[in-house]
């Protein structure tokens, strides 16, 4: 008996017009030397000789027990069941769903059917987002929300149709809903094949490298302004605003490109986690630490910073500059313009029901307690938990236990050995109206 590798499968979702067919054609026409089978539910324009394209009508099979988590896609079982009979010839399978498809049953098919599970592995879910229209779609349909929530990769397509600020705000909103997804911005669905194939989407290490604090809460600041300053003493002047205090971190040597801003933001998240030092008006402000400006007094208030060499500084502020008419003024009394501004939209500003919970804890977990907790959690809230994934440090095991789940379905296996690495646990849950505190406490109770 031969032992085969499971064939990886990517699910491609996204509303009509989001660019799925363009992306598919791009992947299929690129020289990557892989034989790809495509299962299409929409009659697109895909037609490339080297790929096998199979059209299948979406058939959703619910079970007599009424459990939505057991709902599968009958057409996929049939088509994949047949594909596995010519398995040698395919390195990869891509499933393109209709724009209105609920990704749940598609993903569940890879857990619920033992024959499919023995031959195929769900490599990842890629959701294309039409940057110009997704805001309307999110308001109107559950499917679009779920397509975002289920994704391992979110491709923000048609970025050329939207200005940068709106794109930033959109990205933050999408991240609020799904914190485990990688977000890629593009136009004309022009993304490298590696963005879609062989994601090993369940490799959280890679996610962490890209965004080290993705497990942290959302950015606790709303606004960043970058200023180019010569040596000298500067006044930061604020008018009366909506709050009696405002938190601030001043970052020295802040660049204005997107990557540097994100880097600065990640660094500030950690500063914001530290207790703030209260700064009264007329005082000098400390660079690089969390301070809280005291703004109770009436009228404009001034704070000062001393700059010793030519640098760019970044103000990461709890509120926008506009709200307090915040100005940086040089010794001559001139207002220094910003080199760039960036708005970070915080989670509380949206009321999307769908959100993410991320847990990171060092230490070992008791397998029995974990099992009992997860079973209970999934039985009670499985319908609302769209996806979960992560890795666990199980007591007594020398390898990290990597898992993923869709609704109540759960699949895991031991992977890389811990070696010298610090033993820790990372879990991400994405779902609707999740009880964050309950889930955190439940997990913490499983630690040895």
């Amino acid at each position: 008996m031969s032992i085969h590798e499971k064939v990886p499968v990517t699910i491609l979702t996204g509303f009509l017009g989001s660019g799925k067919t363009t992306l598919l054609n791009r992947i299929l026409s690129e020289e990557h030397g892989k034989r790809i089978a495509v299962i299409e539910n929409e009659y697109g324009e895909v037609g490339i000789d080297q790929a096998l394209v199979i059209n299948a009508d979406e058939e959703i099979f619910e079970m007599s027990n009424g459990c939505i988590c057991c709902t599968v896609r009958g057409d996929l079982i049939r088509v994949l069941g047949n594909l596995m009979k010519r398995r040698d010839k395919f390195d990869y399978v891509l499933v393109e769903t209709t724009g209105l498809a609920d990704p749940g049953p598609v993903a569940q098919t890879f857990f619920m059917d033992e024959e499919i599970q023995s031959e195929f592995s769900l490599d990842g879910i890629v959701t294309l987002v039409d940057a110009a229209h997704i805001e309307q779609q999110l308001g109107r349909s559950d499917e679009s929300t779920e397509q975002i929530a289920f994704a391992d990769v979110l491709i923000l397509n048609k970025k050329d149709l939207v200005d940068d600020e709106a794109l930033d705000a959109l990205e933050v909103r999408l991240r609020d809903m799904n914190r485990m997804a990688r977000v890629v911005r593009t136009e004309k669905a022009s993304v490298p094949v590696e963005t879609v194939l062989n994601l090993e989407a369940f490799n959280l290490d890679e996610v962490l490298e890209r965004r080290p604090t993705f497990l942290e809460p959302e950015y606790p600041f709303e606004w960043t302004g970058v200023y180019s300053l010569e040596p000298g003493r500067y006044e930061i002047s604020l008018a009366e605003g909506p709050d009696p205090t405002m938190s601030l971190v001043i970052v020295s040597e802040q660049n204005t490109d997107d990557a540097s801003l994100r880097e600065g933001a990640e660094w500030c998240v950690r500063r914001y986690a530290e207790p703030a030092a209260a700064s009264e008006p007329e005082s000098d402000l400390t660079m690089g630490s969390h301070i809280e400006l005291q703004l109770q007094a009436s009228g404009r208030k001034s704070f000062y910073v001393q700059i010793d060499s030519s640098i760019q500084i970044g103000l990461f502020a709890q509120h926008t500059a506009e709200e307090f008419d915040m100005q940086v003024i040089n010794a001559n009394g001139d207002v220094v313009p910003t080199e760039c501004e960036r708005i970070w939209v915080a989670q509380h500003e949206h009321d999307d029901e769908v959100g993410s919970i991320a847990i990171e804890k060092e230490g070992d977990v008791d397998p029995n307690r974990l099992n009992a907790w997860l079973s209970r959690l999934l039985a009670e809230s499985g319908i609302d938990i769209f996806r979960m994934k992560g890795f666990i440090s199980l007591a007594g095991q020398d390898k990290r236990f990597v898992f993923q789940g869709v609704h109540m379905l759960f699949d895991g296996q031991p992977e890389k050995p811990w070696g010298d690495a610090v033993r820790r646990n990372q879990l991400v849950f994405i779902g609707r109206n999740l009880d964050e505190e309950g889930i955190r406490k439940g997990f913490e109770a499983c630690l040895v």
Partner: protein
């Protein structure tokens, strides 16, 4: 199954012959007098083997574009029907491998083909429809769309066929296509077997259960507790036993007397991988079971539905089909590796 020894048949299974086809051997059929075994592979190759020796009498490559899915041998004549992903069914001379007719039914997969016992009719399922043809290839009727893709068809009476799909079993008049009766069940019915008297319709369901209906009384029952979806089902020729797969063991329901409701089924355990195919001999209570690891076991059932192993062998790969020769004196196993193994069956 180390005790069995690869390719060393035991018990009543005796050395016969072995051949290969180009790809996954998907389906096969013996001709009516058992002198030819026809095998189809997943890329559309069709091979006629001399039944005794395994010599290739004829072969046709790449018949159905995109792949072959099913075949059915006429019960009395050397006419073979094949169906495939190209939405086409073809009729062949099974002795010579000559194409007699090719009929395209449009977009969709031709999943199942079934001759009537008198050989006058051929039922064909494609996507959500069933078409009925005469032996000469002329169409009699086609059904309206079923609620979902038709997963199985079986003759339930001489003049009636049963169709299974997600959510229902329907019984259609063979000459008009009119639906006589439907049984609804919210579940994906993946397999179907009808008792020889047509009274009991059993379906394996995706949710790891077997559901059956008695047409005479309208009663239905569900047998749950399977470890996998029961995609292999087989009634014996008397209609007494229904053998069901679904996991590593074979569960045999006994329809004699009060059963099977409330009775303990027979359990046949030796396989260490999920059962993929079950096939009763044409006569008597010999049951062949095949599994994902290529193990083939022949069981002799007792009155309780339990059984003794009377033959065993191991082939290379997942068993895709098990075919008793019409006289039951040979058994063919097809596997995922393209292997065609035929054993003589001793006493």
């Amino acid at each position: 199954m180390s005790g069995l020894g690869k390719n060393k048949p035991k018990g009543i299974l005796l050395e016969g012959w072995y051949a290969t086809v180009d790809d996954y051997a998907i389906c096969g059929a013996w001709n009516p007098n058992g002198t030819i075994l026809v095998v189809g592979d997943s890329i559309g190759g069709i091979y006629g083997f001399e039944g005794k020796s395994g010599t290739v009498l004829w072969e046709q490559k790449r018949t159905h574009r995109d792949g072959l899915l099913c075949m059915a041998m006429h019960p009395h004549e050397n006419i073979l029907a094949t169906g495939g992903q190209d939405g086409t069914f073809m009729l062949w001379n099974a002795q010579k491998g000559e194409l007699l007719q090719e009929i395209n039914l449009g977009r969709g997969w031709v999943d199942t083909l079934l001759w009537s016992s008198d050989g006058q009719l051929l039922a064909v399922s494609i996507a959500r429809r069933v078409h009925m043809y005469r032996k000469d290839g002329s169409e009699i009727w086609k059904s309206a769309d079923h609620p979902s893709t038709v997963s199985a068809i079986q003759w339930s009476k001489d003049n009636e066929i049963a169709t299974a799909c997600y959510g229902q079993v329907a019984f259609c008049d063979a000459s008009s296509g009119e639906i006589h009766e439907t049984f609804e069940w919210k579940g994906s019915l993946v397999s179907m077997s009808v008792s020889p008297d047509g009274d009991i319709v059993a379906c394996g369901s995706q949710d790891k259960s077997v559901h059956f209906w008695r047409r005479s009384t309208g009663e239905d029952s569900m047998m749950a507790g399977y470890h996998g979806k029961p995609s292999a089902l087989s009634f014996d020729e008397s209609g007494r036993f229904l053998a069901t797969g679904g996991g590593n063991s074979v569960t045999v329901w006994n329809f004699q007397g009060e059963g099977p409701e409330g009775t303990k089924p027979g359990t046949l355990e030796i396989h260490i991988q999920p059962i993929t195919k079950l096939s009763f001999a044409h006569q008597g209570v010999h049951l062949a079971s095949g599994a994902r690891d290529g193990a083939v076991i022949v069981w002799s059932l007792d009155d309780s539905g339990n059984g003794d192993i009377i033959g065993a062998s191991l082939v290379e790969e997942i068993i895709s089909d098990l075919l008793w020769r019409p006289d039951d004196r040979a058994l063919a196993a097809l596997d995922a590796h393209g292997g065609v193994t035929v054993w003589q069956v001793g006493n």
